[in-house]
Each structure stands twice: as structure tokens, then as C-alpha cells.
Symmetry: D2
Subunit: 165 residues, 4 copies
């Protein structure tokens, strides 16, 4: 993501995230690990709120890849927002881009991505994204229609017999 | 990292990590976020054990970048090992490569990297890696001497006025 | 606490707490451990907001005792509130009573207590509650003036040479 | 528990617990919340290892009550042991006593208890402790036979229609 792509205004969906006392580590800042917990909460929370996630369903999204770059610190009790958008939807996978904003800042304190691959829990094989989930995801696709690629350009399904939540 | 580079045997340093009940999420596997906690523990634990980390020191390592790919699931009470090596040491930054092994497996369940930038806690500016830390790190450098790059090839110091732990 | 003492209406201070994806354990409910993280966040957040906590100060509050009873489950993405009140203030210690409410429920899903003992970080010995903290705490004292006990009835200072955060 | 009852030698079962970087809070010590994670891990780990816990079973143990007293601090990378014993087994509930030891100390840094009530996951009603679990638990009963109370003295089953993990 370019700097411009990470401005607060570049995100349609901003999920409020409350920091916790335990988020701060020995250096007095939110620990690097905790940002991934914010990502998980923003993405799964949005899906649940929009009918796109049934944790008891037969087909669930397992995380196969995540990354985060950290630009400046934040600390409890700062108020945060996590920008969430969908960069690509394939047949069985979806790539999210995320950025974390502190209080009313326009520039993020951190930005990253994560990839869900949908998997049949019984067989462990990749499976098409469930219809209700796809509908929910499409509302998060950034900008142009081109962001939704054809199934043939899907990220090669990893050997998800064993991908994990 | 290629597949071969992530074999258990490719790591000289393997840190034992004990899983916890709380590592498992609603899907019954170790949650994606938790792997980063293993990385933090393996790297900082190794540094502490080898005289390379003083959490009250004036110069400390802040994490500026992390990533992880997840290949197969693991779950409490599995026993894990985290392979740790140093891919590059610059003037003020160090890049680690990590891989997580379940029980006695040779193939990892996950692999990733993270980058520490050393920062003067008072000014927030990047600073040379402390001497004792550099000595400790050099024992973790993978393979050839070439892995230790000259200062001029250092990853451009990010705007670390505010990078964070 | 009696049932009546744990009604939502019995608390003047209610701190909103946002659940997270990682709060749910393998049974699909907020894990028992996590409630203590809510307690920490509600108490320390309130203190910070009211000038009652300086984490870099010479005198800090270390937790010496906690408990929680769990009455019914809650789960991400429920919205919670934590009722916080001060049951007793002594010379160097303070006892909090807490209860957790789900969404708009009047009955708590959990209730507990925790005790801070103020300690001189250098010597590890118990110390009088700092003045600004005491002022903040008095606004949280439940009900009658009697709740503020005389110094002589203070909970016997534990051997706090080593009590901990 | 009296002081004598919390000596390391008073526990037959001691579970090794590895601390993590993230266990330390802003004060540089293991945070009070984290001790409950150690309790969960020691108890459930022991049960799993001894055939006493099937997380997918119809009858599971929900935690209804926990407490901890903190005597002295510990910090990553200390090595810990958690002493675990069963103080009482009833028809559907079991009360554990736990204590945490740092490195080779004989005196605990913390001690507490927790209570599992066995519940039918479908109905939410309390249920008899499964036979295999009871067998496993009996090996952890402290000292005399008297510790195993008759069913009639069981802790009154809380309204566990909704107790939680």
C-alpha cells in the first residue's frame, strides 16, 4: 500500500477498537502482536455483523497469511480505528488490507494485510466462499470493480488440508 | 524462504515453546495471532539469555515489520519449537527469519519474519545496535558471512521517531 | 456481594468494554481469564482518565488479590459494561468490587473484586496511596461515608516487598 | 490455604509453565491476569494428558469461580511450576487448589483456586462428572480420603443453565 492508500479517508469501513491495559508491553506501548488481534476483531466482527460468518458452519475462513508494518506507537487508553477493505476476492480466498488509526489521526500507526482461505472443516480442502459471505465481502471491495478478480486469478489455493484459523 | 530453507534442520537455534489452553481459538486450533507471540518470546528470550537485551537500556529494539504464513494447524497441548535465525544485520536493524515446528515434525506449521530497529528511547531516533546485542546476534546469522551486510546496505531506517515495541 | 448489590443500577460507574475475537475460547464463550483483563482495563482506565494513575510514578498500585464468579456466558461480539466501585480505601490499599453486564442486561454475567496495594517501586514497601489517586478513588466509593475506613482498619499490608502488578 | 499448605512439597502434581514475553506488563512483571491463564493451562493440560477432557464431548467443565492471591513478582523469562491438587470432588463439580512457584523456590509467588462445574452443553444444565474425568481427578485429590466428599455435600450447583468456559 502506498502512503496515500493508507490515509484514513481511503477507507470506507472503519471499525472502532478499544485498547486494553494488557495491550501495553514493558515498553509502555501496544505490543506488535496485539495489532493482529485488532485485525482479527475488525474483520470477523464486520463479517458477523453483516451475515458473513457462521463460526459453526461447515465452511469457515482460515487465515493463511498475515503481515503488519508499524509506523508509530500507540498505547492504552488511546482510542483506535481499524480501516478494513477487501483488495481481492477469489473463488475460495479473500485478501484484506487493514490500517490502524490512533484517536483522530489521518495517518496510520500501522498497516497490514491478511488472507482468509475458505475451507471445508470436515475434509480440510479449500471450498468456494459461501454465498452470504461473498455478498458481505463485496461491500468492502475497494474502489473499482476490477478489484474483484475472476476465479481464474485466484491466489493458488495453498495446501489447505491443514490451513488454520 | 524456500521450502528447503524452512526445514527444521536448516535452523541451528530451536527454542522450545509450550502451548497454552488460551492459544486455541473457537476453531480448536492455535489462533493466527498467537504465532507472533511465539516469535516475540523466541527472539527476546534468546537475546536475554545471551546478554543481548536490557529492557531498561537507553537503546532498545522496536518491531517495525512482521509477517507469517500458516501451513497447517496445531493445537494445545502440542509441543512446539521455533527456529530462529538472523537473515541480515545492518547498522541499526536486524531481520529475523522464524519457523514453527509441531512436536517432532520436520516441516513447519508456520514461517515468518520480523524486523527490529534499534531506537534511542529518549529521542525516538534510530541508533546503532548496541555492541553486546551485535555480538549475540552474530551467533544467529544463517550460513555464510555474506549474511552480514555492510552498513550501507542497511534497510533504510524507517521514520522511527515513533516506531514501537 | 448480594444479588441486589450486583444489579446494574447499583453501580454509578459503568465502563464500556468491547469484546474481541480472541476473547472466545474453544467453547465459543469469553474465557474465564479474560474477565480479569476487563477488570484491569476498567479500573486502570478509570484511574488514568481521572488523574489517578501515573505508570511511571514512584508509587504504583500492585494487585495482591483478585476473584471472580461467573454466572452466565457471553461471547464476542457482545457489548459489555463493567461496573466499578470502591468498597474500601485504607492507608495503602483499595478494594474494588466489579460486575460485568452483557448488552442491556440488568443482571451481571460475572462479578468479582480486586485489591491494589500501593508500593514504592524502589524499595518494594507499601506506601500511602498518592493524594491524586485518593481523590480519584473517593468518587468511586459506594454508598455511605462508612465505606471509607480509618487507616487503622486497613487490610494488613502483605509482605509487599515483592507484590506485583 | 495456610502457608504450609502452599509449600512446593505439599503438591504431588507440579506442571511446568514457560513464561512469555507478553506475560510481562508495563511494570516489567507477569501481569495478574496471566496467572489465571497458567491455572487454565495446568488443569486442562493435566486432564487432557490423563484422559479426563474431551473438548468436543457432550459434557464439559465450565469455570464458575476463580481466585488468586499474589505474594511476590515473577517475570519473563523465569521458569515456573504450577502445583495442582483437587480439594473436593462432588457430583458435578470439582474444586482445584493451585500455587505458582518461580524457578526453584519453595514458597509460591501466587496461590488460588478454581471450580469447574460439569454441564451438558446442549441443555446447559449441570451434569455428573464423566467417569473418565472422575478417575483422572481422583489421582489429584490431596491427602486424605476425606477430601472426596459425598455427593450430598456437593457445592450447590449454581444455575449453570448459563455457566461458561
Amino acid at each position: 500500500m502506498s502512503m496515500r492508500e493508507t490515509l484514513r479517508s481511503s477507507f470506507v469501513q472503519l471499525s472502532a477498537i478499544q485498547t486494553r491495559w494488557s495491550d501495553n508491553d514493558v515498553y509502555g506501548h501496544v505490543n506488535n502482536v496485539t495489532y493482529y488481534s485488532y485485525f482479527d476483531t475488525a474483520v470477523n466482527g464486520w463479517l458477523i455483523d453483516h451475515g458473513g460468518l457462521d463460526v459453526r458452519g461447515a465452511i469457515v475462513g482460515y487465515v493463511v497469511e498475515t503481515s503488519c508494518s508499524y509506523f508509530s506507537p500507540t498505547a492504552f487508553p488511546d482510542r483506535l480505528h481499524v480501516g478494513v477493505r477487501v483488495a481481492r476476492i477469489g473463488r475460495s480466498s479473500v485478501r484484506y488490507e487493514l490500517a490502524v488509526y490512533r484517536n483522530d489521526d489521518d495517518l496510520p500507526v500501522a498497516a497490514g494485510h491478511f488472507v482468509h482461505v475458505y475451507v471445508d472443516r470436515e475434509t480440510g480442502r479449500s471450498a468456494p466462499i459461501p454465498g452470504a459471505t461473498r455478498v458481505a465481502l463485496e461491500a468492502l471491495v475497494s474502489g473499482s470493480d476490477a478489484a474483484v478478480g475472476p476465479a481464474t486469478t485466484d491466489r493458488p489455493a495453498p495446501d489447505t488440508r491443514e490451513a488454520r484459523a
